[in-house]
């Protein structure tokens, strides 16, 4: 039984169909990267996996439970088994770095402050930010904020980590640091990881399985070796980053 099963997922915003019957199964422990052009529905797909968005049709099963049918308490319990790293890091800007990392432990799990303190320090150390717990998010660089977002995600010891464009907007060195961190953290917490990105370097570094979305549909699903060997012109154009070919810039 797959840990996550997406059946015929369709999502529309107004007249635009963003996801058009997407079906995907993700097994426990897999490291899946979803690639595709900007605006092709990758982040929308990701937000269906923890029900930040609900499907117009189709369903998303997590551990054999349809997320759409869960009541609020059941959904909260399901979400506590997952974590999400946001493109913008989405740190609560009224809180310190340490409070952000420990937020889920305090408010969702009701842990004691003394317990939270040591976990927060450990997580910050894992992402190379030991001693920054008292800083405010506004004092951090973009790369540091992403790392705090990673620390917040792993603090809850999740079974699934969802990464939304983890390296977007970062310089190549910082992006590679984030890639290394994701690989190391996935191994350390043995989590199932699902990342969406249009950064092929990142996709090859962190993914053991690569899925490509194009116009709301899956057009490729295979290993990094298979995608590099594919002759599909759409996929080839995307991974080679060529301006000419079947892919056009989204309006």
């Amino acid at each position: 039984m797959p840990l996550i099963q997406v059946d015929n997922l369709t999502k529309r915003f107004g007249p635009q169909t963003v996801l058009d019957g997407v079906t995907l199964k993700i097994e426990r422990g897999e490291s899946v990267v979803i690639i595709g052009q900007s605006g092709t529905g990758k982040s929308v797909f990701l937000k269906h996996l923890n029900r930040l968005l609900t499907p117009d049709s189709g369903r998303v099963l997590f551990d054999d439970h349809d997320l759409a049918t869960l009541n609020r308490d059941q959904l909260t319990a399901a979400r506590q088994r997952m974590a999400m790293v946001f493109q913008s890091a989405a740190l609560l800007d009224s809180m310190t770095v340490g409070e952000n990392v420990g937020l889920g432990l305090k408010e969702a799990r009701g842990m004691a402050a003394s317990e939270i303190g040591s976990i927060v320090e450990e997580c910050l150390e894992l992402v190379g930010l030991a001693g920054t717990g008292e800083k405010m998010p506004s004092e951090l660089s973009g790369g540091m904020r992403k790392r705090v977002g990673l620390a917040r995600a792993i603090a809850n010891k999740p079974e699934v980590v969802l990464y939304d464009e983890p390296t977007t907007g970062l310089d190549p060195v910082t992006a590679e640091t984030i890639n290394e961190l994701i690989v190391a953290l996935n191994e350390r917490v043995s989590a199932t990881s699902i990342a969406v990105t249009h950064d092929m370097n990142s996709a090859f570094r962190i993914g053991r399985r690569i899925v490509m979305l194009h116009r709301g549909k899956i057009v490729f699903d295979g290993t990094p070796q298979e995608i590099q060997a594919t002759v599909d012109p759409t996929v080839r154009q995307f991974i080679e980053g060529r301006a000419t070919g079947p892919l056009t810039v989204n309006p």
Partner: protein, 262 residues
Amino acid sequence: MEPMDYHVEAVGRSGINLVTRSGGMAILLGRFVLTLKDIPRSLHIIFEQFYAIGVRSLPLIIVISVFVGAVSAWQAAYQFKFIGAPLRLLGSAVGKAVVIELAPVLSALVFAGRVGAGIAAELGTMRVTEQIDALESLGIDPVRYLVLPRMLACIFMVPMLVIFANFIAVMGALAVSIVGVNISSETFLNGYRSSFQISDFLNGMIKAGVFGLLIGLVGCYEGFTTTGGAEGVGRATTVSVVIASVLILIFNFFFAVLLFRI
């Protein structure tokens, strides 16, 4: 499109907008009621908001109350002179006006501008920067974490501020009566005492509590449903003040009819 079609479409869109907003606010109110059971484990964030929303509004309420009381005494004296009414009734007239209408309504309107707008802007920014999504993804109910403390603070702190407003406004009126109208403090306070009824005060408190609920609900709803980045946050802030102010005045009329029988 014909001009007539355009107008019909605009009316239709406004109607849909009104129904959507009303329904959305009713759902949010229902979810707020359901989270009341979580008050014991949310006390730390509730008291934070009581301080931020209530205590920090006090200086502004004091300033407006002084001048509201002062101007009401001056205007009442002017009217008394015009109709030939005795000035010993000044305390009575001003006291009634302050306790029943001026303190609850004006405090609520100022509160809507300061706190309602602040709530809409804060939650709106959190919405467009995915901070509310982040809370949900951590398994934290944003209604419990964000709406519950803010709405409770509004419901309880508006009446508390109105108590201060009542006192300060009467002091302002007393000062103007002594200095500007030339009546003694004894005359003013005797008039005030003679017409004071505890039911007026309590009805003013009930009104203030409901106004607080409206301000919190509208601010939270507009913040939660913000879309469109910085422009959307600005729009949500403005809309929350406008809707809350209009609702306060409409509800105030119905309170007058229901609570203060002629």
